[in-house]
């Protein structure tokens, strides 16, 4: 059965927002198609229509030449279409095999052993490693993703849609995923991959389709294009893809951590004897597999984590006169010390902002206590909010629209805008560009460089090694809560950092001051 899929003139609106319009797309068996576009360009929406989560408002979908209506993911499975979402749809307390057969309705009694055998056959064929009896909550992100793919193959998927599969993987894991994808392609499967990372597009795909603001812009064979051309198509104008890295001037000590250990409520060491110094006028990158202690590191500085006895966090003010120990201080006490600390946390709506409030109310989140009046000052946050919207080009229906309703990039701009407004001497960002499109990402890089130029110490926790290597002056690599090394961003390689992310001892000699 040939399973070529054609989407013709697809249209989808959410209220007044046109997510997709006049989109035409063809996917052939034995081919990897990259779907490229900025945030909010409608990639995920389009794929959700193919996998039965949304219904198109207009247009037609043909599978193998026959028009179909896909009303549910079950219909999609029946057509051989399966999607792996950014957020995995797995049940944590079940095993791999149980997750695979979940919802399959193969009779009341299921022979899990037979399932295991079939799973093994699929794994051998494509080069996966899945342990059928392992529980999902014991799996790493990469294992979970593998399980999702195997789950689809088990159900007979011929067309696989992967929504930003590499966002959560290390470089090594990404290579493994790509190898498997190539095997599947050889086997005649059609694969659609959504990604922001252009070098991956160049690496893995046969064809590239580009969406911009919901419209279909064009389609090119990968071998006839390059990252610059693709970016221009995505953004609609020429964009420079180089990230600036000005030489640091007047480095001065800003924050110095010594022997800091943090233990969570379960007694697990999240940070283990961490010591480093961040300097004003430079960007210190922090790399590591997700969950290696990045979050705790930043939250400890911000006064949100309890430090074990013996740790010191010394903060030196910009004039170099004062030195304060931040250990044991609450966020309010830290602020009262005069520490100008800006913090862009990873969880934007769950920590950095209040989703149900508008921009002005969010602007005063960290400063609402100022002044002696029992009432909040409404004027200043309103002015600041308007300024952020204007300067960072935040797209919002109105100043008071709940920020939860804004797109991811605009949410981040609001958050970054607020944090930078306090002219910080120490700026900490966690995954500042996660999920953001190229344009917004470059805006963020520019803002970080501006802070560096002002003499602020910038700590940048990132996951994209290419960006870390281009942007940061030094890179601190965390592995399981310990520092496995601090390397010079100008003289290191992706491979070296990748290795340090997984091995503690590998780069002992790389540790500098």
């Amino acid at each position: 059965m040939t399973n070529e899929i054609r989407m013709v003139n697809i249209r989808k609106t959410f209220g007044e927002v046109v997510a997709n319009d006049k989109v035409c797309l063809t996917i052939n068996p034995g081919e990897i198609l990259s779907l490229l576009g900025e945030n909010g360009s409608g990639k995920t929406t389009l794929m959700n229509m193919l996998s039965g989560i949304y219904q198109p408002d207009g247009g037609h979908i043909f599978v193998g030449g026959r028009e179909v209506v896909i009303r549910s993911p079950r219909d999609a499975f029946a057509l051989g279409i399966g999607m792996i979402h950014q957020h995995f749809k797995l049940v944590d307390v079940l095993t791999a095999a149980e997750n695979i057969i979940l919802g399959l309705n193969e009779g009341a009694l299921t022979d899990l052993k037979a399932v295991g055998v079939r799973v093994k056959a699929i794994c051998d064929r494509y080069g996966f490693v899945v342990e059928p009896d392992k529980k999902v909550y014991e799996m790493s992100v990469s294992e979970k993703q593998t399980l999702e793919i195997v789950k689809l193959l088990y159900r007979g998927a011929e067309i696989l849609i992967l929504d930003e599969p590499t966002a959560v993987l290390t470089p090594q894991e990404t290579d493994m995923l790509f190898a498997v994808m190539r095997n599947m392609k050889e086997d005649g499967k059609a694969i659609i991959i959504i990604t922001h990372k252009l070098h991956e597009v160049m690496d893995i795909s046969d064809r590239v389709a580009v969406l911009r603001k919901g419209l279909f812009i064009g389609e090119v064979p990968t071998c006839e294009t390059d990252p610059q051309k693709l970016t221009d198509m995505m953004v609609g104008r020429a964009v420079s893809l180089n990230i600036d890295r000005p030489e640091p001037k007047e480095r001065r000590e800003c924050l110095s951590m010594k022997n800091v250990t943090v233990v969570d409520s379960d007694g697990v060491k999240k940070l283990n004897d961490v010591s480093f110094t961040a300097y004003g006028g430079e960007i210190l990158g922090i790399a590591g597999i997700s969950g290696s202690g990045q979050k705790e590191l930043l939250e400890t500085v911000a006064g949100l984590c309890r430090v074990c006895p013996g740790g010191v966090i010394a903060y030196t003010a910009q004039d170099g006169a004062e030195r304060d120990d931040l250990v044991g201080k609450s966020p309010v006490e830290i602020r009262n010390l005069g520490v100008r600390l800006a913090f862009v946390p990873e969880d934007r709506l769950g920590m950095g902002l209040v989703g149900s409030m508008g921009i002005p109310d969010n602007m005063m989140l960290r400063s609402y206590k100022e002044g002696h009046s029992p009432f909040t000052n409404r004027k200043k946050p309103k002015e600041l909010g308007a300024a952020v919207v204007r300067d960072l080009e935040v797209v919002t229906p109105g100043l008071t629209t709940p920020v939860r309703k804004l797109s991811g990039g605009n949410v981040q701009k609001v958050l970054v805008g607020r944090e930078l407004a306090a002219s910080p001497s120490l700026l900490m960002t966690a995954y500042a560009v996660r999920g953001l499109d190229i344009n917004t990402s470059y805006t963020i890089y520019r803002l970080l460089n501006e802070q560096k130029g002002r003499g602020a110490a910038v700590i940048y926790v990132g996951e994209d090694l290419d960006v870390l290597l281009e942007l940061c002056d030094r890179i601190l690599v965390l592995c399981a809560g310990q520092i496995s090394g601090i390397v010079d961003g100008r003289n290191t390689t992706k491979e070296e950092v990748g290795l340090m992310m997984t091995h503690l001892s590998a780069a002992e000699e790389g540790v500098d001051s």
């Binding site: 959410f14 408002d57 009303r71 051989g80 949100l304 709506l349 769950g350 209040v354 609402y368 909040t376």
Partner: protein, 370 residues
């Protein structure tokens, strides 16, 4: 698996979230819902008891507003419900599930009654002030306990506040036995019937004018507190996400304790209104389930204390009207509960159509062609 493939037609109707809705449309939908509810009620009334629905509605109206006295009793009860709703608003805005208003009201009522009995000789205004303060403190304590336990040990506030209701109920039973008058009646009876000490004095010739003034003042203060004060801002942030609150440097435990104390105190003041401003006695039915009804008031109004006036008015009107039709047409109380249920179903249910819209199949094709 391919064999299982079924041909589908497009679904006849789909649900889509609205981005925004004009205010007149939203109120139009609510109006239609109200009319729809009245029609359904009418049909059921006619089908079950063969009465003229119009007469039944007329009786309801007369039951609530028919005479001057009825009008003022309706207003009094509406203020009562509003007061409790105002008390619950800060707790619910903080996403603290305070279902213990009953207990907080009773705690306030006990404090008021005790003041009337033991301090009946104090001059009028002073006695009222002392009663006001004592009932607020008693209700506040009843809110403070679950607040402290939530803040310190993260206990489940729903169970905790519910259990506090039963403790308050037993305390009332104890004090009723203690203050029994006349002996053996198992009732407290009207307190200070001759001196009227601790009773709300009539204002402008109206017995319940003070209730109205007091509750409306509380509603206005609470509105300003929640919307414009720093503490109100903290409540909103904590309600949205504790992580965000911690990040913002808000001490979550102290906000929880403070807010629950305020919530309990206002509910305690409602207990003061019951004893001093309405019944002039205390019994285990002094709260009478209003602590639960007020939860509906608070949520339907989305914690806006002025919208609560409307909702409280509607609920009390329904209650009074239902009692009237039950007695006038010799029906039992279930009829009133049915009517109330149907009306609430429509009024709450219509919010769905304000949040979402239905898209029909035909319309879609027209859109696609356009």
């Amino acid at each position: 698996m391919k064999q299982k493939l079924k041909e589908h037609k497009e679904p006849f109707v789909r649900i889509a979230k609205r981005v925004k809705i004009e205010w007149w449309k939203a109120w139009g939908i609510r109006g239609i819902a109200l009319v729809g509810a009245l029609l359904v009620c009418a049909a059921i009334i006619y089908a079950v008891v063969a009465l003229n629905p119009l007469q039944v509605y007329k009786a309801m109206f007369e039951g609530a507003f028919g005479t001057n006295k009825r009008l003022w009793v309706t207003i009094r009860d509406m203020m009562m419900l509003l007061c409790i709703g105002v008390g619950l608003a800060p707790a619910f805005k903080m996403r603290f599930w305070n279902i213990g208003a009953e207990g907080q009201i009773l705690a306030g009522a006990i404090a008021s009654a005790a003041c009337m009995i033991y301090l009946g000789t104090l001059p009028g205004i002073l006695l009222l002030l002392v009663m006001f303060l004592c009932s607020a403190v008693a209700g506040g304590l009843w809110g403070l306990f679950p607040g402290v336990f939530k803040a310190k040990w993260n206990t489940n506030e729903t169970l905790f506040t519910l259990m506090m209701n039963y403790i308050a109920l037993q305390l009332v039973a104890f004090f009723v036995a203690l203050w029994e008058n006349p002996r053996g009646s198992n009732k407290v009876g009207i307190i200070n019937p001759n001196t009227r000490a601790g009773w709300f004095p009539p204002l402008f010739g109206q017995d319940y004018a003070l209730n109205v003034i007091l509750v409306l003042a509380l509603a206005a203060i609470m509105f300003l507190y929640l919307k414009y004060s720093k503490q109100g801002y903290e409540i909103a942030v904590v309600g949205e996400s504790e992580n965000t609150a911690r990040y913002a440097g808000i001490r979550v435990p102290s906000v929880v304790i403070r807010t629950m104390t305020i919530s309990g105190a206002v509910c305690g003041i409602a207990g003061f209104l019951v004893v001093s401003g309405a019944s002039h006695t205390i019994s285990i039915s002094s709260a009478g389930g209003r602590g639960f009804t007020a939860i509906i008031v608070a949520w339907l109004a989305k914690f806006n204390t002025f919208v609560m006036i409307l909702i409280a008015g509607l609920l009390v009107f329904l209650e009074k009207g239902a009692i009237e039709i039950a007695s006038r047409f010799d029906l039992n109380n279930f009829v009133s509960q049915m009517i109330m249920g149907i009306l609430l179903f429509f009024i709450i249910g219509c919010e769905f159509f304000i949040q979402y819209e239905l898209k029909f199949r035909d319309k879609k094709h027209k859109e696609a062609q356009a």
